[in-house]
Amino acid sequence: MENIFQKPITIISGHYGSGKTSLSINLAMSGRYSSVIDLDVVNPFFRSSDYRKMIEDKGVKVIAPYFAGTNLDVPFIPKDVKTSVMFDEKVLIDAGGDDQGAVATGTISNEIKKRGYDLVYVVNFMRPQTRIAEEAFDIMKEIESACHLYVTGIVNNTNLKQETTQEVIDYGVDRTRELARMAGLPILFHVQEKAFSYIIKGTSEKVVKTESYVLTPWEQA
């Protein structure tokens, strides 16, 4: 993946089930980050830290809550998160879904501001609670107030997984542009899995191709 985020800290936020984790893993695997922090304390499944070894093999430091991959059910922010945000060269943060998830990021917002940040809002307009731009906008505002930071750009990840069609893509692109106008924010890029080749109509916006790392057990060998 190319280098889109210039600031020392990149934060990936989004509504619940928007595809934050998938995007975070792709960014982590790009080799452009020295550290990856999983602050998704809301959802115990399908989190960046599950892919710890794969990312660590790329020479990237992974910081995740201690219960990750274990059986403990208690959200806990590791002590080295703050140190990493303050001193590591280039840091990627996978924030949790919705405003509840972004609260953890809010606890280190001062340190993040001091370093400078890109805060991405990932949106998938095929999810039930973000079918229209207004709904996505409301959740974005909730996330901003929970993490005490401002969103700097929008990433469109509208898809229906294996059942994605051109119609789905068009719908997502239109809604994303509406959202961007409403929020006065740039569209950073549209995400598309490598296996897909849909057309983003009428635009000069970037399309970023991603690998699909998150597989269900029956999709695995």
């Binding site: 089930g17 059910d73 999810r127 269900t216 029956w218 060998a221």
Partner: protein, 351 residues
């Protein structure tokens, strides 16, 4: 257009579409999204979402709402379901239809938070104390998480029994594109419900306490006659590549989904294996398995536990073919490769 949903969200949305306006819950991983979704959406529809102070309270609130004749539900995960068992037994004893969702995690005890099918026995054999059964369905996809909600409500109301949707953490948490029903839910009259007599009829009584043994026995016999009707009418299973199968995997839920991949891989290697996916767990889909006895040389039950449904499969097969078990537990999901290896072992052994 379809929508991309988590299994837990699908359950909640489907319940709302099925006319459920009363949800009583208590948070527990990995089912919390059911309650979270309800908390957001229920007020918009003028319904009642209530987070009770405990699982025990929540199930007794369901008892009250069901007694009043409305569609009510609760959802939890394994340890929380154990807490609800007293209330479930009371609902069985009072013939109250309602939906209980169990998004299973690994147990016993506090166990873990990863997916499991360890509550099969609890759901099908002893959902509470006393002679009792629930109508139990096991979805294997997010679409089924949604579709079975209405089936559970309708079946529960038809026979006046509580229903359980037995899912697991995998199905609850994963996202898949699904089609949501746009049709109006089918509601039936509930002349037994506590809706107020308006001084126009004799008052109804909802109760599970019967001190006189002969009265209680009569009630139990009547209830078991309804159970017999359910066993006759409501068995459901999916037969996959069973037409010419020499070997059969028997499974349910997420483990059946993995087994399906294993069946496809085994077929590529020329092994004639099929899958019997149990969709209703109680009633156990005996008919579907019985139809294969005599043709299948070996049954392999695959579960995410230490071996539970395998006992029911053995009862149906009744010694006419070997029945073996393969399972992973503790929150581990078996891989298609592991199941394939088991199939290959069996195929070699028989040949």
């Amino acid at each position: 257009m379809k929508v991309l949903m988590k299994g837990n969200e699908a359950v909640a949305e489907a319940a709302l579409r099925a006319g459920c306006r009363h949800f009583f819950g208590y948070p527990i991983t990995p089912q919390t999204e059911v309650a979270a979704y309800m908390a957001k959406q229920m007020p918009k529809l003028g319904g009642t979402y209530l987070q009770a102070e405990s699982e025990i309270s929540a199930i007794n609130m369901v008892y009250g709402a069901a007694a009043a004749g409305v569609r009510a539900m609760t959802s939890s995960s394994s340890p929380g379901i154990s807490l609800k068992q007293e209330g479930i037994s009371y609902m069985v004893g009072a013939d109250l239809p309602a939906l209980i969702v169990n998004v299973q995690r690994s147990s016993p005890g506090l166990g873990g938070i990863q997916p499991s099918q360890g509550d099969y026995f609890q759901a099908t054999k002893a959902p509470g104390h006393g002679d009792s059964h629930l109508f139990v369905m096991a979805p294997a996809s997010v679409q089924e998480m949604a579709d079975f909600v209405e089936t559970c409500f309708e079946t529960a109301e038809k026979y006046r029994v509580p229903a359980m949707l037995l899912a697991d953490g995998m199905l609850g948490q994963m996202m898949e594109p699904i089609e949501l029903k746009e049709t109006e839910p089918k509601m039936i009259e509930k002349p037994w419900a506590l809706t107020g007599t308006k001084c126009e009829r004799k008052h109804n009584v909802i109760n599970s306490l019967y001190i006189e043994p002969d009265v209680l026995e009569k009630i139990l016999i009547e209830r078991y006659a309804r159970y017999a009707e359910i066993e006759k009418n409501e068995q459901r299973a999916e037969l996959y590549k069973m037409e010419d199968a020499e070997f059969a995997i028997v499974g349910f839920g997420a483990s059946a989904r993995v087994s399906k991949s294993a069946v496809d891989k085994a077929r590529e290697k020329g092994i004639k294996v099929g899958l019997i996916r149990c969709i209703t767990l109680w009633p156990f889909p005996k008919k579907f398995i019985e139809g294969t006895v005599g043709k299948v040389k070996h049954y392999l039950t695959v579960e995410m536990n230490m071996g539970q449904m395998v006992e029911d499969v053995k009862l149906v097969v009744n010694g006419k073919a070997p029945v073996s078990f393969f399972g992973r537990s503790g929150g581990i999901i078996p891989s298609p490769a592991e199941i394939l290896a088991e199939i290959e072992k069996i195929a070699k052994g028989v040949n």
